[in-house]
Symmetry: C2
Subunit: 357 residues, 2 copies
Amino acid sequence: MFYITHDDVEDLALGSYVLGTGGGGDSSLAKIMLREAIKEHGPVQVVDASDLDPDGLLLPIAVIGAGVGFEEKLLNGGEAEQALHTLEKYMGRKGVAIFPIEVGGVNTLFPLVVAAKLGLPCVDADSMRRAFPRLELTVLTLAGIPSSPAVLVDAKSNAVLLEPIDNAAAETLARATVVAMGMFAVMSAYPITAQQCVDHGILKSLSYALELGRRVSAIQEGKPDAYQQLLEYADAEIIFSGKVVDIERRVTGGWTKGTVTLEHLTDPDRTMRVDIQNENLIAFEDGEAKVMTPDLITFLDIETATPMTTESLSYGQRLNVIGMPAYSAWRTPAGVELAGPRTFGYDIDYVAFGGTK
Amino acid sequence: MFYITHDDVEDLALGSYVLGTGGGGDSSLAKIMLREAIKEHGPVQVVDASDLDPDGLLLPIAVIGAGVGFEEKLLNGGEAEQALHTLEKYMGRKGVAIFPIEVGGVNTLFPLVVAAKLGLPCVDADSMRRAFPRLELTVLTLAGIPSSPAVLVDAKSNAVLLEPIDNAAAETLARATVVAMGMFAVMSAYPITAQQCVDHGILKSLSYALELGRRVSAIQEGKPDAYQQLLEYADAEIIFSGKVVDIERRVTGGWTKGTVTLEHLTDPDRTMRVDIQNENLIAFEDGEAKVMTPDLITFLDIETATPMTTESLSYGQRLNVIGMPAYSAWRTPAGVELAGPRTFGYDIDYVAFGGTK
């Protein structure tokens, strides 16, 4: 058990961007919200699922939308509470802790804001340990756990509760709902017990994001060996160092899709193209896939060590492209079948990147 | 209190088409379903809301989709039960009777099928007394009664529960859900008590549809004065007798939209154009609106007195265009504001058609 304090917020946000892999939204406003929530309610208690009543209901929370941050869509501040109360009413029981569905992007920080406001602890776990663009892409789906009942609430206080037949249908219905809600909603999905979290969740995800962020922060502070310590912790590698020469982005059907092209800093014959569907999906060097989903591709600005979202990229920017192995369950055959290149329409066999940590 | 027997089904279907005003779907399969349900479970009890416990919950039911009948989309037979059980679970109480949301088209017969299967009476009332293409177009909306919680279920057994902030938002979210569900779903919306039905519903709607159907049937049987007796009962008029010279239909965004053009049988200088959005919306003669929503426009085939849906129209067909005043609440300023021409994008002031019965 530990507490997220005011001083952790910046590091956690840095880690959230790394795990956001280009997507997951801009955490700027989530940072402000979390700092305000801590100021008002005190540090947020983060607990292990194993410390909770095994039968206790965890209350999952995330935002869902078209790769936007909070800035573009006003929150009324009550969406999460409304979503969780709707879920609790429907399930006929109360929750004991907040469960982050997706530790990556705004969804790393947002559950902590909700936990602070509702006076509940937040579980140090999630179901992705990165951002993913579809709600059925969770290790809970791999474990056969339904995402339903799921609840979406928009800033106008419209609520929609989904009871789909499977998690793929949940994604279809949730996406249609999000589009009708104006591309942004707060979502609760995958209500699980603490024991289900222990058995099937990804444990220590928040700690992992926080430690990643601390190591990025150390690079930014110019500490010796800091880059190496980041890469070692994440079992990661710099796969390309280049300059952005082309960016193509469009928002379509509730997703941000696009490509980013980089030219190598020292060898102009080498180019890297990264395909995006909300998150960075596949990094191709000269046509060959070097890192691919479910493994992570993150851009770090070379000068500032700032982890970049798709929206924050700009022409001429100099970036290190970091490859990181996904959480182990993603690298199994079932994990690859659910979240590998073919899920996103690529006729490419998955090749695991780097280590197996 | 009365019973819908096997012998009533055909007449009720004829009445349902008249109130379908070109939309509301093809009742053919609903007829078969109702006959089978009556064969298995016996005649369906139809009761007045005033005969029920005033606090008793009515279970509203309808199908929602893009102007299609059951034939195009297979029902699994359990959608209505699943929708109503989801509603009852969420509301924490059981219903006492089935409530037809829309007496018009398939939604006239379908609630009776559900009532027979579930062993519940069906209330002789509805909230439209015609078919309408948007779920907020009900006299319950006029009375300030929310359509929520509303539940949609598709043939795969996916369920979606809506808790929107108002009935217009319910329509937006339901329409997006229906599209994601493949254009067809069973819906429960406007859960009301028997007393709310007495106070704000349209009473005797099923009886009205049945009597309309019996009078159409009498025309088909060649009984003397039968046409006049139909028109008198509905306070209706034949506003045009013509031949179909043009039909344009398209399915877009969950709706069937189009126009039908008729040339007068005896005066080729006279033409009538009827604009459609699922239902017949406005009948223009030589550019002038003669009958407009919320009043009813129904086509009766001249040779066979068959009431026509938009889908069953064909080139060269000879039709009487029947104008019928809508239920009185629709003809008030509030009714016209909700369901008049401007709702459908026409810059036309409503002019009430015919009588005020």
